[in-house]
């Protein structure tokens, strides 16, 4: 049985390879068709035709596309993602510093969403079609219906501009603090690791508004899924049987129903996490958050193809490994997996 699961996991891992390849092909094609000639951009404001041509050769842009693609693949395999034209940094370095920022934001957003949506979903499932259910549904749907930049601006306007409760929306830390030692790249965690509570508080308070914005749009799918899978398992025969066997209500709901409902929930959480990472793009723009999302926007608008490719590839790796992780979790948690396939 363990062997079966191992095989299943291995299979999943292998299946990710063609996906990566596909992502590489698509991102390569997409970036090569971006308008704007990178050589022109790279050559600078006053460059003439000759220096543009020189830059073009330097970048290998004068070679055929298949050749460029092969060179690109080779570079990627060697861990060379190229250099961003617009920020002038190595794409990998850039992502290395920015990804923790995005992840910290997304994870906290997801966490906020989970701790609100799951209880809401459970409450709704315990009293389906009651007013509680309706209120929950309206609440979470409102969250999902608001354009992410709108809610971001709104929260900022109210909590920073009008009330002054939130710190100034200028990124990960206020001016007065020094960023903590780079350990994980997550400011809050790094600050805690070195025991710097001041900085932790500052970094955390910067996180609250943007991650709440993210959480708002993640509420609906999680709450919906919690509700429906809780309903399914609450109405299932085994919960009924547990009731007939005199298992107390608390245990039935939290041990039996919730445990079973958590499996489909896991899949949704994976999806939502991916969605939030994508949605980051807009939040980061609103809150000047120095994450990968704002990097991607700038790069895309600037036709900065190395940066776009690098971003897309890293994100794909992240997404695919996330799904892989969820699959593996699922496989490990659900005893049925790896058996009836």
């Amino acid at each position: 049985m363990l062997y079966d699961k191992g095989l299943l996991i291995l299979k999943r891992v292998m299946l990710a390879i063609p996906t990566f390849f596909g992502v590489m092909v698509i991102s390569f094609c997409l970036t090569r068709t971006l308008p704007g000639d990178p050589a022109v951009y790279f050559a600078g404001v006053l460059a003439d035709e000759a220096s543009i041509q020189q830059v073009r050769e330097q970048l290998g842009l004068d070679r055929s596309l298949p050749y460029q693609f092969l060179a690109y693949c080779q570079n990627i395999l060697q861990g060379d993602f190229g250099r961003s034209l617009s920020t002038g940094q190595d794409v990998l370095d850039e992502i290395r510093t920015r990804l923790p920022a995005s992840l910290e934001l997304t994870l906290l957003g997801l966490f906020f969403a989970l701790i609100t949506a799951i209880p809401l979903g459970i409450i709704a499932a315990l009293k389906p079609n009651s007013w509680v259910d309706h209120v929950c549904r309206i609440l979470v749907t409102c969250g999902a219906s608001t354009p992410i930049f709108f809610s971001g601006l709104f929260l900022m306007f109210v909590f920073y501009y009008l009330l002054g409760w939130a710190p100034s929306p200028i990124g990960r830390l206020d001016f007065i603090y020094l960023e903590p030692l780079h350990i994980t790249g997550f400011y809050t965690i790094d600050a805690l690791l070195v025991g710097d509570l001041e900085t932790f508080k500052a970094a955390f308070s910067q996180l609250i508004l943007p991650s709440t914005t993210l959480a708002l749009c993640a509420l609906a799918p999680i709450a919906r899924m919690t509700r429906s899978s809780m309903l399914t398992s609450l109405e299932s025969e085994y919960v009924k049987a547990a009731k007939a066997n005199g298992i107390p209500a608390k245990k039935r709901v939290y041990l039996y129903a919730l445990q079973n409902a958590s499996l489909p929930l896991l899949t949704v959480i994976g999806l939502v996490f991916g969605f939030l990472l994508g949605g980051n793009v807009l939040v980061e723009k609103v809150y000047s958050w120095p994450g990968v999302g704002s990097f991607a926007i700038e790069a895309l608008i600037a036709s900065d193809y190395a940066a776009v490719q690098g971003f897309v590839l890293i994100m794909a790796i992240l997404f695919v490994s996330l799904n892989l992780l969820i699959d593996i979790f699922y496989t490990l948690l659900d005893p049925r997996m790896g058996r009836n396939e």
């Binding site: 971006l34 308008p35 704007g36 000639d37 022109v40 951009y41 790279f42 050559a43 600078g44 404001v45 006053l46 460059a47 003439d48 220096s51 543009i52 020189q54 830059v55 961003s84 034209l85 617009s86 920020t87 002038g88 940094q89 850039e94 510093t97 920015r98 601006l153 900022m156 920073y160 501009y161 002054g164 100034s168 929306p169 200028i170 990124g171 990960r172 001016f175 007065i176 960023e179 723009k285 609103v286 809150y287 000047s288 120095p290 704002s294 990097f295 700038e298 608008i301 600037a302 036709s303 900065d304």
Partner: protein
């Protein structure tokens, strides 16, 4: 250091390199060259009518060079470098450093080389080390542009000993090293740079090329959203906010806690370009018709919020001064526009997309919409075509393929002929209109290196302006102003032609 000695600046743009010579370095990064490196000379600073500080293109003052003189029958400049000037690492600034830096600027290609060329500086032979503290710049042809061109950010002086240590065979000019690590002797040193987030300057206390700056530390923080920048400055969380839309600037002017430095940008025009390659625009009457169809005042009110200088409605038909930019004698007159259009053979108008740069949508979008509406009134339908910032360069300037487009060119060196050189001569980068007029070419050629005091110069420039007015390949809308909002206790903002932040003069009460 305290908050009192720290200046917090909000910028909307991202600094992508610390080396202005490197290909790919973007405009906002030029401030590093300004603040961390010194040049031989600099422009003077003057106070303008509304009390704000502005660079003075007519005076050149010493920076690293204590003094200079014209030698070799006016064919060379001889510079005497300050003896006490050192780089941050304590090593003295020598003529060798200057030569290495200038050689670098003209050798790397791209922008620095082109800019040096504008001052007639094209070959390493022109830069001669006379002795440790004496440096000579030879000219092939005497030009009024050479000395001012040494005051722009490009010919900065790099610590060549340090840089050469990091040079490699493939990279003899140490571009990789200087890209991330400045090696200079300017008033400020680098404390930290997190690309995409912030740049922190730290004062170089042994700076000798000018008065020691007041601010010990300057944090330039990137805040892409202009609304956020406004909120931050309004709430007093920052000292200086750059790049605010005119509307916000206008409103913030009335806040007692804030003050605004506002002055027009020299040699710069926001204009509507008409591409000659587009059939109807090759007819002068059509271009004039469009010039009469523009709702100038509304555009100025809505897109510029009245900040800047109108470029329309001059009441004399011919130019009476060589002041540049100066208003053109056009007005909004739809009847006239219509009749001109009919005369040109387009009584029913035509269709032409109006292209705008997304990167400047603050002003381009409302402007385009207002133009679009008036053009419709004379029968021309003009759908708006938004082009992302990066492709703009390719499409507008390199391919020159945009029929009707909003452009904003500004010349660093404040001479009308310099503007005409870039914007009105066929094939030159900023002539996105494909405009070709042999007379303009010959006039510019003869005026470019001529001294301003030459009487021929005056005639030439007036003629240039008259041709541009009559043929209108590009319709000036207004001369923009550079507006910076500061807390009222902050002073010392200087409006430079390069539009970069010069933090050396700042002080806080």
């Amino acid at each position: 250091d305290t908050r009192q000695e720290t200046l917090i600046v909000l910028s909307g743009a991202s600094i992508n390199s610390l080396d202005i010579h490197r290909t790919g370095t973007n405009r906002p990064s030029y401030q590093v060259a300004v603040n961390m490196y010194d040049r031989l000379v600099s422009f003077g600073i003057k106070e303008s009518a509304n009390g704000s500080l502005k660079y003075d293109s007519s005076t050149i003052k010493p920076e690293l060079a204590e003094s200079w003189e014209l030698v070799d029958d006016g064919m060379s400049y001889l510079f005497h470098i300050r003896k006490d000037a050192t780089f941050w690492d304590g090593s003295p600034v020598t003529a060798d450093d200057v030569k290495w830096s200038f050689d670098r600027a003209i050798s790397l290609g791209g922008f620095p080389t082109v800019q040096m060329k504008a001052g007639g500086l094209t070959s390493p032979e022109q830069f001669v080390v006379v002795d440790k503290h004496t440096f000579k710049v030879k000219m092939f042809k005497p030009s009024k542009l050479t000395l001012p061109d040494l005051a722009v950010p490009i010919p900065m002086v790099i610590n060549s000993t340090l840089a050469k240590k990091h040079a490699t065979k493939d990279d003899p000019w140490a571009t990789e090293y200087l890209h991330k690590t400045p090696a200079g002797g300017g008033a400020y040193m680098l404390e930290r740079w997190v690309p995409g987030q912030q740049l922190v300057y730290k004062r170089f206390d042994d700076w000798k090329s000018g008065d020691l700056p007041k601010m010990k530390r300057v944090i330039v923080r990137e805040v892409p959203s202009s609304a956020t920048r406004r909120a931050l400055i309004e709430r007093g969380d920052a000292d200086v906010a750059l790049g605010l839309p005119s509307k916000d600037v206008k409103e913030l002017m009335s806040y007692p806690s804030l003050k605004v430095s506002s002055s027009t940008i020299d040699n710069t025009i926001h204009a509507l370009g008409l591409n000659m390659n587009f059939e109807p625009f090759s007819k002068t009457k059509v271009r004039q018709a469009i010039a009469y169809a523009i709702p100038y005042q509304e555009i100025f009110d809505v897109a510029a919020y009245g900040m800047g200088k109108p470029m329309w409605g001059r009441d004399t038909e011919k130019a009476t001064s060589i002041l540049w930019p100066q208003p053109f004698p056009y007005n909004t007159n739809l009847e006239k526009a219509k009749s001109l259009l009919a005369e040109a053979g387009y009584p029913n108008g035509f269709e032409v997309p109006i292209s705008i740069n997304l990167g400047f949508s603050q002003w381009t979008e409302p402007t385009a919409l207002l133009i679009q509406e008036n053009l419709k009134a004379i029968g021309i339908s003009a759908p708006v075509n938004k082009i992302p910032g990066a492709s703009w360069r390719t499409k507008a300037l390199v391919e020159k393929g945009l029929e009707l487009h909003l452009k904003n060119f500004g010349g660093w060196l404040n001479y009308p002929d310099y503007y005409f050189f870039w914007a009105y001569i066929k094939g030159h980068l900023f002539n996105s209109m494909n405009y070709d007029n042999p007379e303009i070419k010959s006039l510019v050629d003869s005026s470019l290196h001529m001294e301003v005091t030459d009487s021929q110069y005056d005639t030439n420039v007036k003629r240039l302006i008259d041709i541009a007015t009559d043929e209108v390949p590009m319709i000036p809308l207004w001369q923009p102003s550079l507006d910076v909002v500061m807390k009222s206790n902050v002073s010392g903002y200087v409006n430079w032609f390069h539009r970069q932040l010069d933090i050396r003069a700042f002080s806080k009460e």
